[in-house]
Amino acid sequence: MRITTTVNGEPREIDDVWEGESLLYALRERMGLPGSKNACDQGECGSCTVYLDAVPVCACLVAAGQAQGRDIITVEGLAERDTLHPVQQAFVEAGAVQCGFCTPGLIVAAHDLLARSLQPSDQVIREALAGNLCRCTGYEKILDAVRLAADRLADASASGR
């Protein structure tokens, strides 16, 4: 079947999609957007988290056909040209990235959290990111990164930027 969507602000059309295919497969193998990761295929790791109509979801659990006409934002769509989003910048600086396979999903999940919550407590951060498994870091530097990004976003917000 044919599916038309908007991905990272651009209209996309893909053909010959198998009806049982996931949005994750369509993004990775048909649209050239492999940033969303294929770690579990069952919604248990969060590595494939994308925004679907502004709501973070596991792309592996969305049938590609369900994305018809929807608006999708993936990790590839968060930086503005060459400028990383503050969440991305904080992950790099805080050493929150090791193998990095969980990173795209965590970036989207943290991006969503900080869009909703200006100065989240550690407990709030942990509950918001509990759907994103990381096997390398023990999560400490991920918490550091989210706190760092939150501080910077709060500063930017306070200074009206």
């Binding site: 990790v75 991305q88 990095g100 990173t103 498994l133």
Partner: protein, 770 residues
């Protein structure tokens, strides 16, 4: 007790540069931006226009004879390009890390559930999957041996013709029949842990015009893969070129082959690029796991707690193929009594074949299983004698100059007592009664307690782990370093085949080049087999061995540059040093520009670098200098246990570790934090459940690893006691945290619950059992 200090060590030579991001700094990883933007190319992200998809048919039986394989229906499926069986393997149908005992595709017999039997290539993964199901295999099910101890029984079914014993490692030291005033013993059982790296096994094989193949794959050791792929394909190494694709974690699980040969076979057969990507279920069948272990321990001690003897029997269930079982057995034996002085020792450590899933390398490698047992027994001994649990460890803890149980003198720092003191002295978290938020309680928002039944427990553990390959193995790495002027600026290029699996080796390679050559710009060449072997990214060895190779290659490059400058200027080369773009004399004066010395030339050196040799041990006594270096760590775990429901919240997981020299302190912390999490996972939740040879939980729904809500804050203190034998004085870092964290968590749960808990992972029903 000395005060813990950060001892400055391994100061780089006088040629140390002023460039930022040298050793001891924590520069940002060069792949960080690519990874946060989703642009980093992992092995499952590879894509070519005309590529097709491979899929694997796997055995449903733990042990069966293959009577026949009918591929007709599968091959006739529209969209299917190839269906291959063992008959289609041009070379030897045998691969393996230590022993070539594993077929690429099963031939007459399958020895474990999940063993590959046939391959399909098709236009779309769904077509390939459905075609796999059309392959008809007639199996004659055979009796299976699925218990490690039972496998040693002469009457047990034989997994291989040569029997079920992979290795028996004996240690006999001191009095063969020792006695002691106090004797404690226990039996312990460790379940099968999975590496659970997030990036599934995957890669792309591209047929080449020379009849060879280019394989892009996630792995820990390109050259050992290449050797096995060549053997199976019957091709020489120059026609089997491997390149490292992005690796989504490894932890030992990528030391063995997975889809490597399979994709190459399909690519060579079809003439098309073939991509293979396991899903999470297949991944559980597609790589080796941590050996389950059956451990029987006895310690004898003086009344003051001084250890007199240790008697140990360990059985590691290696599953159907040897993988690295032999080396795991050696580690379990040689370090199986922990970092303690014990004069009289008897160890019998066995690795066995069974029809269970194959087991091999995982972070901690044989020491993890043993540490649960020896640390539980040390607590038991302390309690028996009414001694403090930390004090008894400190009293027996190794010190520099001590002999370990294989008779090897520990010839660098062994700060066991100090590490324990550091973690004991760390501030404890607030008491349980001050917590109210559900997220801080056992069970979390599942709302199973508001404080009822919650008891605090504290546990300690200490370990030591060998770094690098042992027992006489020729353990080396190769580095090629080039220095040239590009765009008016000195640029170093470093090329090794040592796998970056996320730990940060590429950053370390850059730091060493900057330190030794004084350049700021260091390009890390993609990892491939166009340079000599870097050895395995395992055994906590890469910063040591590949770091050593890069350092040596830089020194060789530097020497040539300075020789050239000295000849031009007319001074002795040893009076000059290299600092960025300048050649500097002893006086500090700049005497030449690097650009002038190099001109348009590139200076390149390739160096093969080895650590000190190790020895094979005596086969009857296990005595010998088996290992090149030891790394020590201690953990303190604080847990809240809902003793009525058996649920656990780890409140703190604090650690101290001697790293010799922190080449990249931030990366060291990352290794310790991540390693601690994996050890904690084994103590609490991580187990591949195998019944009658079949995996019951091959998914992330039922194989659980810690989430961010499970991990506590971790206090970490780093010691830097230089190892004078190692580059910069460094010590391997990656594994010790995975070894000492789990036993500390288990000890804390024992203390809170009052239960013996002689098995990990500890499940709620173990804590609540009456």
């Amino acid at each position: 007790m000395t005060t813990p200090t950060k001892v400055p060590t391994g100061a780089p030579t006088e040629t140390a540069s002023t460039a930022e991001g040298r050793i001891g700094d924590s520069p940002l990883r060069p792949d960080g931006v690519l990874k946060v933007t989703g642009e980093f190319a992992y092995s499952s992200d590879l894509w070519m226009d005309d590529m097709i998809w491979g899929a694997t048919l796997r055995s449903p039986h733990p042990h069966a004879r293959i009577v026949s394989v009918d591929i007709g229906a599968a091959l006739a499926t529209p969209g299917v390009c190839a269906v291959l069986t063992a008959d289609d393997i041009p070379g030897r149908n045998a691969v393996g890390l230590e022993h070539d005992d594993q077929p690429v595709l099963a031939e007459r017999v399958v020895r474990y559930q999940g063993e590959p039997v046939a391959l399909v290539a098709a236009d779309h993964p769904e077509i390939a999957r459905q075609a796999v199901k059309k392959i008809v295999v007639d199996y004659q099910v055979l009796p299976a041996v699925t218990d490690g101890r039972q496998a040693l029984d002469p009457s047990a079914p034989k997994v291989h013709e040569h029997g079920n014993l992979v290795r028996h490692f004996k240690i006999r030291k001191g009095d063969p029949a020792p006695s002691a005033p106090v004797v404690v013993s226990l039996d312990f059982e460790v379940g099968m842990q999975d590496q659970a790296f997030l990036g599934p096994e995957s890669g792309l094989a591209v047929p080449a015009e020379d009849g060879g193949v280019d394989l892009y794959v996630a792995t820990q050791w390109l050259h050992v893969d290449q050797r096995q792929v060549c053997q199976a394909l019957g091709l020489p190494p120059e026609r089997v070129r491997l390149s490292l694709a992005g690796v989504g974690g490894a932890f030992g699980g990528r030391e063995d082959l997975s889809m490597h040969v399979h994709a190459c076979l399909l690519a060579l057969h079809t003439g098309k690029p073939v991509k293979m990507v396991y899903n999470r279920e297949e991944s559980f069948f597609g790589h080796v796991h941590r050996h389950p272990a059956d451990l029987r321990y006895e310690f004898g001690a003086e009344a003051d707690g001084t250890l007199v003897y240790g008697k140990v029997e360990i059985i590691f269930d290696g599953g159907a193929y040897a993988s690295s079982t032999g080396a795991v057995v050696a580690n379990g034996a040689t370090m199986g009594l922990g970092p303690y002085r014990i004069p009289h020792v008897r160890v019998d450590c066995y690795g066995v074949y069974t029809n269970n899933p194959p087991c091999g390398a995982m972070r901690g490698f044989g020491c993890v299983q043993a540490a649960f047992a020896h640390e539980a027994l040390m607590d038991e001994l302390a309690d028996r004698l009414g001694l403090d649990r930390v004090t008894i460890r400190q009293r027996n803890g190794m010190r520099e100059g001590d002999e370990n149980i294989t008779g090897q003198r520990i010839d660098s720092a062994a700060p066991v007592a100090e590490l324990l003191q550091i973690v004991r002295d760390m501030e404890l978290p607030p008491s349980a009664s001050e917590q109210r938020d559900l997220r801080d309680l056992p069970g979390g928002v599942a709302n199973s307690t508001h404080g009822e039944g919650v008891v605090r427990g504290v546990g300690y553990a200490v370990t030591y782990k060998n770094v690098g390959f042992s027992e006489g193995f020729d353990d080396f790495s190769t580095a090629r370093v080039r220095l040239e002027i590009t765009g008016g600026e000195p640029v170093a290029t470093v090329h090794t085949a040592a796998a970056e699996v996320g730990q940060g080796l590429i950053t370390v390679e850059q730091q060493i080049c900057r330190t030794e050559l004084g350049v700021e710009r260091v390009v890390v060449h993609p990892k491939d087999t166009q340079v000599g072997s870097g050895g395995s990214t395992s055994a906590s060895r890469q910063t040591y061995v590949t770091g050593g190779a890069v350092k040596a290659a830089c020194e060789a490059v530097r020497q040539r540059v300075l020789d050239r400058a000295a000849a031009t200027i007319g001074v002795a080369a040893n009076t000059l040093r290299l600092d960025g773009a300048k050649i500097v004399a002893e006086s500090g004066d700049v005497v030449a520009a690097l650009a002038d010395v190099l001109g348009g030339d590139a200076v390149e050196e390739t160096v093969e670098w080895r650590h000190r040799p190790t020895q094979r041990v005596d086969p009857e006594t296990g005595q010998g200098d088996a290992h090149v270096q030891y790394a020590f760590s201690a953990h303190r775990a604080v847990v809240d246990v809902d003793v009525e429901l058996g649920l656990v919240k780890v409140v703190a997981l604090d650690t101290a570790q001697d790293v010799g020299k922190a080449i990249n302190p931030d990366a060291v912390m990352g290794q310790i934090q991540g390693g601690s999490a994996q050890g904690m996972g084994l103590a609490l939740m991580e187990e591949i459940l195998v019944r009658d040879g079949k995996i019951l939980n091959p998914s992330f729904t039922d194989y659980l690893i810690p989430t961010i809500l499970d991990m506590p804050p971790m206090k970490i203190e780093i010691l830097e006691y230089a190892d004078p034998h190692a580059p910069y004085g460094l010590r391997g870092v990656g594994e010790p945290p995975t070894i000492s964290s789990g036993p500390a968590v288990a000890a804390a749960i024992r203390q809170a619950s009052g239960k013996a808990l002689r098995r990990v992972p500890i499940r709620p029903e173990h804590i609540t059992a009456s």
